[in-house]
Amino acid sequence: MKKILAVDDSASMRQMVGFTLKTAGFDVTEACNGDEALKVAQQGQYDLVISDVNMPVMDGITLIRNLRDLPAYKFTPLLMLTTESGGDKKQEGRAAGATGWIVKPFNPDQLLATVRKVLG
């Protein structure tokens, strides 16, 4: 079973992403900011990390940069959840090592399609 780490400071979004992916048969762990996610990520190897960008404590872009620096996450797909207005954020995220992004608002089907795309 593929392991996914879902990071969002918003509980409703986290639950929605978590529920959707679990229902689709993934093993999902949730974290509510970049700092927590970074710790969790180092305790086990995840096949995919999906992270919100705007979060307190550690934002999503810093998280991606930090993850990419870890040997275990060098080639792991890392997706950002951005809004359509966050054009700069996409570039910033790419520069930090993000694989791609999912644009909010999205629905469960769009989320799954993207996840399946990166997990093959």
Partner: protein, 670 residues
């Protein structure tokens, strides 16, 4: 996949309301001329989260409105726009509007406040002409596949060297293309370097793809969306059929519209009264720990129970075990109570805004000081104490604090202060509302009380006794001309509300020094400090807070008005007495007042006597709701189970007085 997004709505509402509170608090603290980056970030993040969530869960109106807020905040955050006082004002009003919108969504009603349009307009003006109110939900809609004829695209894809290091894999992109048409892949390897210059983590490949699809070019580009900046990609249309992209763009059967969750209408009615509660994991861990201890004790007791012979030693162990059990049960009870406890900051948080708005309106300078915000109390108690607190703070602002000129004239600082303070004391929470204003106007209150017939003109009253008169029913607030207080809700209502929570309110006021209202509340509504009394064969519980005194009354101090109405003379007062056994229709030893005990209790600031046979112990009792378990009985507020397993009814003094038909309204009718 069929996922009902409405299951996440409640959490979304809760976090949005919290986000709005955070936003409001930061806005109120903000130094407009020199805003703190972190504060702006927090405000932005709240708006941003609400927008993201509302869009995802299908609350389009909220999403559209928060989009405007987010845009403004984003510009301020990036330094593209300077923060103005007007922005703070707009944002604060937006918080109100969003609260209204969320409330309407929770209650599943229509939101129609003209303030929304007004604010949208103000936001658009603040943003300048370039921004529009237009909803992104529609602009964001993906063009849906057009059923135009197949076309052949020749795509040349030269991968960027570092593409793999971002977790991108060209094979996956090709797979995506295979989903929309038939694909022919040719690998070109001529860029491969010699082995000594070869970086195994880099990608040196390029491809030539031939795709036959009925999808527009936009759809093809999507496959490479994430890497288009670092890869070279060219598209060439091989066939000569007319381009169909424009046609596709015209299609707007928005994906977003059809898939974003169930709209509000279909969901089942939800408890909008915050039916859920968030509990910190720490508290839950504590509970689990406690239950663990209980299980161990139970196992230990079980072992003793299995012994065939009871020795001296096992009796000792049994006693120990029972002691442990008692201690764990007590701890467990406390932990369970803790679950319902939330910090009073939830109630305090609304005051900075109230004080800001009100003081502006009144032209007064006020500093709000809040202490003990982390003090915890029962969620239900807190919900019910907010309104009385609002009333008291409004009163202090309106009547207590003087205008800056008056203050200066009195030699005080120009800025007055209102302090909200909370702390625990015994099993109670104490909430104080303190102002350093003019204090209560003793003379004015006395005149008014005389005018209303609450006291006689020749009565000699201390200042404190006069101050207490404001809690009397019928003493309406001040001149009643003010827009703020005096909305027909008097201090008697405040007092009654607090009393309903088994609490008390005290007032101390000194001329030109200020006033201090002290509210004392039980930490929870589930437990009551009670006095047990016996009447005939029945045991009743009277809330301890409402008892003044208990006494035996001799015949000469009893005045009989009629069969139903008897008064006792208590010092200078006449106190009506309720024969409880009569009202509840059972036997009692003391049929006449002189044979029993009269317990003098408070009924909305009036004294009432209850005739009982005997006083028993004072103890904390756990309140059980009668309405849920049986039916409502007038004069009884609930029941409890005593240590010996019998049920005792808890007396509702006001209800009982009504039942007996001797309410103070009768007394003052004349």
């Amino acid at each position: 996949m069929d996922i009902d997004l409405s299951q996440f709505s409640q959490v979304f509402f809760e976090e949005s309301i919290e986000g709005l509170a955070a936003m409001e608090a930061e806005l109120l603290n903000l130094d407009v001329d020199n805003p703190d980056d972190e504060a702006i970030n927090t405000i932005f993040r709240s708006a941003h989260s609400i927008k993201g969530g509302s869009g995802t869960f299908g609350f389009t109106a909220v999403a559209n409105f928060t989009h405007l807020l987010e845009t403004l905040l984003d510009e301020i955050r990036d330094g593209r726009r300077k923060m103005l006082p007007d922005h703070v004002d707009i944002l604060l009003h937006s918080v109100d509007v969003l609260r209204g919108m969320l409330d309407a969504l929770m209650a599943e009603t229509e939101y129609s406040d003209p303030k929304l349009q007004e604010l949208e307009q103000r936001l658009n003006e603040a943003l300048g002409a370039d921004s529009q109110t237009s909803s992104e939900a529609t602009t964001d809609a993906e063009p849906v596949a057009d059923t135009s004829a197949n076309q052949i695209w020749r795509i040349r894809f030269i991968a960027g060297e570092h593409i793999m290091r971002c977790g991108n894999d060209p094979m996956l992109m090709f797979n995506e293309l295979r989903d929309i048409g038939s694909l022919n892949v040719t690998l070109l390897t001529k860029e491969m370097p010699a082995l000594d210059g070869y970086d195994p983590e880099a990608c040196y490949l390029s491809w030539e793809l031939e795709l036959e699809t009925d999808q527009p070019q936009e759809k093809i580009k999507e496959a490479f969306e994430w890497v288009e900046d670092e890869c070279e990609i060219s598209y060439e249309q091989v066939t000569t059929e007319p381009a169909e992209q424009e046609q596709a763009e015209a299609k707007t059967s928005a994906v977003v519209q059809t898939v974003t969750s169930k709209p509000q209408g279909t969901a089942k009615p939800k408890n909008t009264d915050g039916g859920s509660i968030r509990v910190s994991t720490e508290k839950i861990d504590m509970l689990i720990n406690m239950v663990g201890e209980l299980v161990i004790t139970q196992a230990m007791l079980g072992q003793i129970g299995q012994q065939e012979e009871i020795s001296q030693e096992s009796v000792l162990m049994l006693q120990q075990g029972l002691e442990q059990l008692a201690s764990h049960t007590r701890d467990l009870q406390e932990s369970v109570m803790q679950i319902r406890m939330i910090p009073i900051s939830f109630a305090f948080n609304r005051f900075p805004r109230l004080v800001r708005d009100t003081s502006q309106q009144l032209g007064k300078k006020v500093e709000l000081i809040m202490k003990g915000e982390e003090t915890e109390l029962d969620k239900t108690v807190m919900e019910k104490i907010v309104d009385p607190m609002v009333h008291l703070v409004r009163n202090s602002l309106d009547h207590g604090l003087e205008s800056p000129e008056d203050r200066v004239a009195k030699g005080k600082t120009e800025t007055g202060s209102i302090t909200l303070n909370a702390y625990h004391q015994g099993g109670n929470i104490v909430i104080e509302i303190i102002d350093d204003g003019a204090g209560l106007n003793t003379e004015k209150i006395l005149n008014k009380a005389v005018e209303k017939g609450l006291v006689s003109p020749d009565e000699d009253l201390s200042d404190d006794a006069i101050h207490q008169l404001i809690f009397k029913p019928g003493f309406s607030t001040a001149d009643a001309v003010s827009d703020l207080s005096g909305r027909g809700v008097g201090m008697d209502v405040v007092k009654r509300n607090i009393h309903e929570l088994n609490g008390t309110i005290d007032l101390r006021s000194r001329k030109d020094e200020g006033s201090r209202f002290t509210i004392r509340l039980p930490l929870t509504l589930a437990i009551l400090d009670g006095q047990l009394v016996r009447i005939g064969d029945h045991v009743y519980v009277v809330p301890l807070v409402s008892i003044y005194e208990s006494l035996q009354v001799s015949q000469d101090r009893i005045n009989r008005l009629s069969d139903e109405h008897e008064l006792i003379r208590l010092r200078d007062e006449y106190v009506p007495v309720v024969k409880v056994f009569k009202e509840f229709g059972h036997h009692a030893e003391a049929q006449n007042i002189k044979d029993g005990l009269v317990m003098v209790v408070d009924n909305s600031n009036e004294k009432v006597g209850l005739l009982v046979d005997e006083l028993l112990a004072q103890q904390q009792v756990v309140i059980k709701n009668l309405e849920d378990n049986y039916t409502r009985i007038p004069g009884v507020s609930g029941a409890t189970i005593l240590g010996n397993g019998t049920v005792a009814l808890i007396i509702d003094v006001a209800g009982l007085v009504n039942l007996a038909g001797i309410g103070h309204s009768n007394e003052h009718a004349a």
